[in-house]
């Protein structure tokens, strides 16, 4: 689920923090910059693991702050392909089932990946798995708050950096507000394999 990513960056320490130990200031600045943020094509950054190398710090003309090039390792949430994860159902919509891990919310199970046959109950806004046995059909509801086991099959990173001014001139003022896209979404593979789906479906009493 979590990987270690090696990164290099230049950290600026303002003069009023010079009395603190350099390592502490740098750790704080790095966490301020990266924690809980998605780095494009890398994943969701959690926290600093360690600092591997500190190069010489420079003070540039015109700016009293010191600039230090830092080599460090960061803990990043980036599940590998086909990894099994357990999350909670956040809600259902016609696009599919939304699952959350608490710290990471953009996990979507598209309707094709649900156990077949599945249908969307409009009245209750939940997806239902119509499970057929000899006794008859059981309707298994995918309720909000239920724990669900799923396999990660695809991920998509979207670059949400702001667009430049030239494109803003071209668009007319009557356009709607830009859609808020999630920078990092996980697409879930089928949960129709044995063992996947709501945990309550598989715990035998």
């Amino acid at each position: 689920m979590f990987v270690l990513v090696e990164m290099v960056d230049t950290v600026r320490i303002p003069p009023w923090q010079f009395e603190r130990k350099l390592n502490d200031s740098i750790a704080e600045e790095l966490n301020k910059k990266l924690a809980n943020k998605v780095v494009y094509n890398v994943g969701l950054c959690i926290c600093l693991f360690d600092i591997t190398k500190l190069e010489d710090a420079y003070v540039f003309p015109g700016d009293g702050a010191s600039h230090t090039k830092v080599h460090f390792r960061y803990v990043v949430f980036h599940p590998f392909l086909d990894e099994i994860l357990i999350g909670k159902i956040k809600g259902c919509s016609p696009e599919g089932v939304h699952v959350s891990l608490g710290f990471f919310d953009d996990i979507l199970i598209p309707p094709e990946s649900l156990q077949q046959p599945a249908k969307f109950d409009e009245a209750e806004q939940v997806w239902v798995w119509e499970y057929e046995t000899e006794e008859g059909a059981h309707d298994l509801y995918m309720d909000t708050g239920e724990e669900i086991r799923f396999r990660v099959v695809d991920e998509s990173f979207v670059d949400t950096s702001p667009t430049g001014p030239s494109s803003a001139e071209a668009t007319s003022s009557s356009e709607e507000l830009p859609k808020k896209e999630a920078p990092y979404t996980l697409m879930v593979g089928s949960i129709s394999e044995p063992g996947l789906g709501l945990l309550s479906w598989w715990t035998s009493s």
């Binding site: 689920m1 966490n31 990894e83 099994i84 598989w202």
Partner: protein, 147 residues
């Protein structure tokens, strides 16, 4: 900012749990600047991640248990990713093993799957709910036993 290596190492949930608890202790001791706006993101992510990991069986592990688990796993010839998933999820049924180990029907016979399950459940400590369930199961078994 440059990313030198986007995949330099895999971390188990236990290692991240350890790291975040130590970080929390450190920040509690230093006190004053926890609530500055810059630190809010770090606070949020550490709180949520800790909450998530605390509900998995990883919270009862220790470095010795992980080492013991990995040495026991050597004989089963599993890939690193599969061993990591077994360590993080602590499967208790054959169905879960089939999910985490690719092509398990071809690579492992039924006895091997049983042996794997036994190694996992004996070396890795269970979460609190599993312990409770085990205790009620044991009590039920004692009642059935006529001796």
């Amino acid at each position: 900012m440059d990313v030198k290596d986007a995949n330099s190492a895999l971390l188990s949930n236990y290692e991240v749990f350890q790291l975040l608890t130590d970080l929390k202790e450190q920040r509690k001791e230093s006190g004053k600047n926890k609530h500055s706006s810059g630190q809010q993101n770090l606070n949020t992510i550490t709180y949520e991640t800790l909450k998530y990991i605390s509900k998995t069986p990883c919270r009862h592990q220790s470095p010795e248990i992980v080492r013991e688990f990995l040495t026991a796993m050597k004989s089963h010839k599993l890939t690193k990713a599969e061993k990591l998933q077994l360590l993080n999820h602590r499967p208790m049924t054959a169905v879960e093993i089939q999910l985490m180990v690719e092509e398990s029907e071809e690579r492992l016979t039924e006895e091997q799957i049983e042996a794997l399950l036994h190694t996992v459940t004996s070396i890795l400590p269970a979460g609190p709910e599993a312990e409770q369930k085990k205790n009620t199961d044991d009590v039920a078994m004692d009642e059935e036993d006529p001796a």
